[in-house]
């Protein structure tokens, strides 16, 4: 087991890792930018090194500075948290070359799954369903052929596009060529490249992800699913486990596919396989996150496994702490509390003048903020994760409502009113929602205004 872990991150996740280190008797080193001089992770770590000015590029993404900090403090392992350098295979390589244990998956697996095209190919080879799709389409024959193979409805996407732009949904064959032709013209204008490709269109998909974990001794396991369909502009707002709609047969297919997948690529440490679940019960691989996720506490509460401790143990060469699948016990919901206007979602940095976080049985709060803390403007707006656990989904929802009502954060604006709207929404309570839920909720409010 290593002796000293440098946490290449900030905020609540840095605290999370420091806590795990403390419990395991490991020394912790915090790194921080000048904007984070008063941050909790700096105060709680055994040592702290300032690594740069506020911009992430010059601090939390600054590889030479971080490696240098590990050198001067004598750290022998690095935990990258999530975001920042956590999925940077080059950084993982550099750590290894400098004799630092990387607390994460092998760099090759990171590279493979970080490349969308190679990842799809690897998953298909492993028998994991991927969203039927095509490569770039060059003529009408190819377009018709692709649609035949994929099956309607299809979505045409610009190869050079992104952010949801340049997409055309086609429900029937008669509209296909026109849509492709118009799409090409628009793509040329918007992105300078007319090329389009095609995918099966999932109308009201749910985002279901599977937590996977593997050690360096050939043990590949899963820790169940998380339902993450409550997203605003592709940013998750609320996550829960188990999913309200997943039947055991589908769950088994998802988890078995996921375990097969990580075994086929020789993955180690923790990771998450993200899927789209179509309204007809079909699921399709979307991507894999080769790191710890923000919403990992949801899984921790329903399975009882400490994922960060597991990460550290795996990196140190120890076997998984569990040998059998852990069916979910009770229900967990995570609420992401952000420093943003609850209506416009504009970020709201500033000083927190009053703070009361909820507590009591089944309430976990992962946060780096405190009364008097100044939320800097340079980083993401996450203030706290409030994770609620109770015996079933309805009880967890009641507890979540109680928590939202109890929370006090003054001095800045937060999305607490928005969270309240979600958990009080009848469709959400019934478990009837998909990835379009938040957009529709916000459109409702906008049109009612």
């Amino acid at each position: 087991m290593f002796k000293k872990v440098l946490i290449a991150n900030r905020g609540e996740i840095a605290l999370r890792v420091i806590r795990a280190c403390r419990e395991m008797g490991l020394q912790s080193v915090a790194v921080y930018s000048t904007a984070d001089a008063d941050a909790l992770h700096v105060k709680f770590a055994d040592q702290a090194v300032c690594i740069g000015p506020p911009p992430s590029r010059q601090s939390y993404l600054n590889v030479p500075m971080i490696i240098s900090a590990a050198e001067v403090t004598g750290a022998d392992a690095i935990h990258p948290g999530y975001g920042f350098l956590s999925e940077n295979a080059d950084f993982a390589e550099v750590c290894r070359k400098c004799g630092l244990t990387w607390i994460g998956p092998p760099p090759d697996a990171m590279r493979l799954m970080g490349d969308k095209i190679r990842a799809r190919a690897a998953m298909t080879a492993a028998g994991v369903p991927t969203l039927p799709g095509s490569s770039g389409l060059h003529d009408e024959v190819q377009v018709l052929e692709a649609a035949e193979r994929i099956g309607f409805p299809v979505i045409l996407k610009a190869t050079a596009g992104g952010g949801g732009r340049g997409m055309k949904i086609v429900w029937e064959k008669t509209k296909l060529i026109d849509a492709w032709s118009t799409g090409r013209t628009e793509a040329q204008a918007a992105f300078g490249n007319p090329e389009m490709y095609m995918e099966r269109y999932c109308e009201k998909p749910r985002h279901i992800e599977i937590q996977v974990v593997a050690d360096k001794h050939g043990h590949y396991m899963h820790l169940g699913e998380r339902e993450c369909s409550i997203q605003r502009r592709h940013q998750k707002v609320l996550e829960e486990s188990p999913s309200a709609v997943l039947d055991q047969a589908t769950r088994d297919k998802l988890t078995q596919a996921s375990v097969r997948a990580i075994e086929s690529i020789g993955y180690t440490n923790v990771g998450t396989m993200e899927y789209l679940l179509d309204s007809d019960g079909q699921f399709y691989f979307m991507e894999m996150n080769t790191r710890l996720q923000v919403e990992h506490p949801v899984t921790e509460l329903v399975t009882g496994i400490d994922l960060v401790r597991e990460q550290i143990r795996i990196a140190a060469g120890e076997p998984l702490s569990f040998t059998e699948a852990r069916p979910a016990r009770g229900h967990a919901i995570e609420l992401r509390v952000n420093a943003e206007d609850p209506v416009t979602f504009a970020p709201w940095p500033g000083k927190i003048t009053a703070l009361h976080m909820p507590g009591g049985l089944g309430v976990r709060v992962d946060t780096h903020v405190y009364a008097g803390y100044v939320v800097p403007s340079n980083y993401d707006s996450l203030l706290a994760k409030v994770i609620i656990h109770d015996v079933d989904r309805m009880a967890a929802l009641r507890r979540a409502r109680r928590c939202v009502d109890e929370m006090v954060i003054e001095g800045i604006r937060t999305n607490i009113p928005f969270l309240r709207r979600i958990i009080n929404n009848p469709d959400f309570i019934r478990g009837v929602f998909d990835t379009g839920f938040v957009a529709r909720l916000l459109a409702e409010r906008a049109s009612a205004a």
Partner: protein, 147 residues
């Protein structure tokens, strides 16, 4: 008010009456002496900041407030501070040396690379704030130069 309270105390044969509110704390003791009156500030509505772990090693980034007009040269890197290019050479600078702008003051070694740190003003070296061979962090004060 005190008279009224004294009456209440007497009427109910109390030995002590304590009033504790947002604005004040008042104790009335019968037969005894002092009536303690204390105005309290309103109770805070939030939890205090958590008890802090022992101070982290490594100075905070901000340069110390300098009462004098001297210029502080701070470290642009995390690394190890050396006063000379190698053990056999003399130090780059000594106290009271006059230095030009751009003159090399020290080396900061980071990841096996030796980075020369130059003076950003001309002047006299008033203080050398770090010991030879010790680790430094970004923003750490290294030299004081009187322009």
């Amino acid at each position: 008010m005190a008279r009224g309270l004294a009456e209440i105390v007497a009427e109910h044969n109390l030995s002590e009456l304590i009033i504790d509110s947002k604005e004040l704390t008042l104790t009335v003791r019968r037969g005894g002496t002092a009536v303690a009156v204390q105005a309290l500030p309103p109770a805070p509505v939030y939890a205090p900041a958590p008890a802090l772990a022992p101070a982290a090693a490594g100075a905070p980034a901000a340069a110390p407030a300098v009462a004098d007009k001297s210029h502080v040269v701070t470290s642009p890197f995390v690394g190890t501070f050396y006063r000379r290019p190698n053990p056999d050479s003399p130090n780059y600078v000594a106290l009271q040396d006059k230095v030009d702008k751009g003159q090399v003051l020290c080396i900061i070694e980071a990841m096996k690379l030796m980075n020369e740190i130059e003076a950003d003003v001309a002047g006299t070296v008033l203080a050398i704030l770090v010991e030879d061979g010790s680790p430094v962090e970004y923003g750490q004060p290294l030299f004081k130069i009187a322009p």
